[in-house]
Amino acid sequence: MIENVSRRKVCASAVGLTAGLVSIEVLGQGRPIRIGASLSLTGTLAQSGDKVKRAYELWATDVNGRGGLLGRPVEFLILDDRSDAGTSARLYEKLITQDKVDLVIGPYGSAASFAATAVTEKYRYPMLLPSAASDTIFTRGYKYIFQLFPPSSTMFEPLFADIGAQAGYRRVAIINGADLYGKSVAANLEALARKHGRDLVLREEFPLDASDLSSLMLKLRSAKPDLIAGATQLPDAILIMRQLRDMRVLPKAIALTPGAAKDDFGQALGRDADGVMLDHLWEPVDQSPQGKAFTAKWKSAYRDDPDAQSAFGWSGGQLLEAAVKSADSLEHDKLREAFLRLEATTLLPGKFKLDPGTGRQTGQRLGIAQWQKGTRQIVSPQELATAPIATALAEWSRRG
């Protein structure tokens, strides 16, 4: 009896399900594919959130111009999470349960990605996370999340590996601001130094927004490093450069993340910024064919310059497109499999490739950029380089 009922039920639901799917497919012809996202359009992360929003929309316009996805136009539903991770999670719940979007794509930053994926995972919505750097997002056993951001273990790797070997960066000093980011980058750098057999001559942490680091400079002076690699926010990065010059410390090379990646760094320091290296994700100077095409499209649409955040958004759209095409469906499990086997070039160095167990990125790499005459030039990897690398810093006194 029980067996009969359940068999009947199963049959009925199977029929119903098929009918439902068919009707959706039939109705779906020409109906837009709606993609939901929450982004930080106001609040502290508004600047970056806006770049990602415009990048998503630029990709949507682009793909629609090419005939859409699976023959249907693409439409974004983007809500403002006010730079708050909790709000982002609530908005994804709304997008999925009330707005009933077909697909979702990630919010801006690690914090929002961490919170929002708890919701998307619950509803088994595959979620590509374009700008989530934090490793902890991918240690929760989730099955429907996919990372684009290059693994943090690749930060400054060329300076310890090939470039470092050629330029003779034997003695290495690692310095970092005492925040989570600084600590984790410094730990990675230390691992790299050991892996490549460099001498770690100094490892020191300093407080954020420090008012004076001249004692650290004296330590650097006596440690005589060839390479100073540091994880420091912008104000400390500016202070470090100022005081290195003041205290006449001149290593062969300095690499700072993320402080040196900001425009303000170059503006505040002028010629003293020259030669400083930083991690490269994407820069508007990118001369690769797809980089140039992206910059041209962005400029004609928005009349300002794209940046790394824009590149994340754009690459995110392209990867979603590639996965949907390869799955030839919007069905979530098929899409998940498509993401996990996807290998694609994006605007970022390396190649998009995921660890199938965790959804973590394994193929993209962090490149190296360098301040040269007031501009950030890409110097590594070789195939993306826009200028040759200057492996030794110019004397402070010759900088004017």
Partner: protein, 294 residues
Amino acid sequence: MNDPVLILQLVLNGVLLAGVYASMAMGLNLIFGVIRVLNFAHGEVLMIGAFCAFWAWRLAGLNPVASFLISGPLLFACGYLFQYFVVRRIANRRMAIEDASLLLTYGLSLVLVALARLFWSADYRSVPFLQGSWLVGEMIFPISRTFAFGCALAVTILLVGMLHWTRIGLAIRATAQNRELASACGVLDRHVHAVAFGIGTTLAGLSGMLLSTMYAVYPDMGMEYSIRAFVIVILGGLGSMTGAFVGALILGIVESVGSFYLGALPATLIPFLAILAILFLRPAGLAGARAREG
């Protein structure tokens, strides 16, 4: 690690650092010593001074010292008027002046930071002036810091001189010692208070100008320096100018040497441990009973 040149250099760095600390702490101390107003917005006035130096350099190409000849008097006027029209009014209400002014200046500090973010954005700026260093024997003298120390020393001497040998100086000290008595002797205390506040504001602006050549200039920069100014004032004795200078020297040297031997992160505890120690051992500050006499 125990090379004598290195130790001398550490001490020198501390002494030079103390220059900026001193000019900042003296302003705070003067205001407190005379008016009993704990100016919570002191760090934000410093930030305004730093931005004045930055914009004068960016827009008009003026070097920070030249621009201070304009911004200094302006800041003095602002301080004077603020004390005369705002602080003085709240002083007559029910709340004690110390408490009321704390709330008032705390509010002012929030407003100044918000305005700075609104008008100038939260970007980080810097003025490339007096960069590099002099090498004297084996000792390094960073030019901007040496200059800042010279300015602070000159200002201390000028200020102490003024407090002792000019009419307004005498009036300021008289009011600080006993307001009612000074008033009864014909000292116009509302004017004296406003002048003291004006001088304090100018000194904060001066430290901001000096800092703009060393550090990043941004709307939230004031907090870091406010804390140090408070530590120095407590260390040196509330109201004492020479105490403030000595307090700054001690803090500068201890921070410099401490962060070398203990590491930069543990060294951030030094100012706070110093406060605890002083409050415990010598609650009136190092200058002790001489406090409030200049």
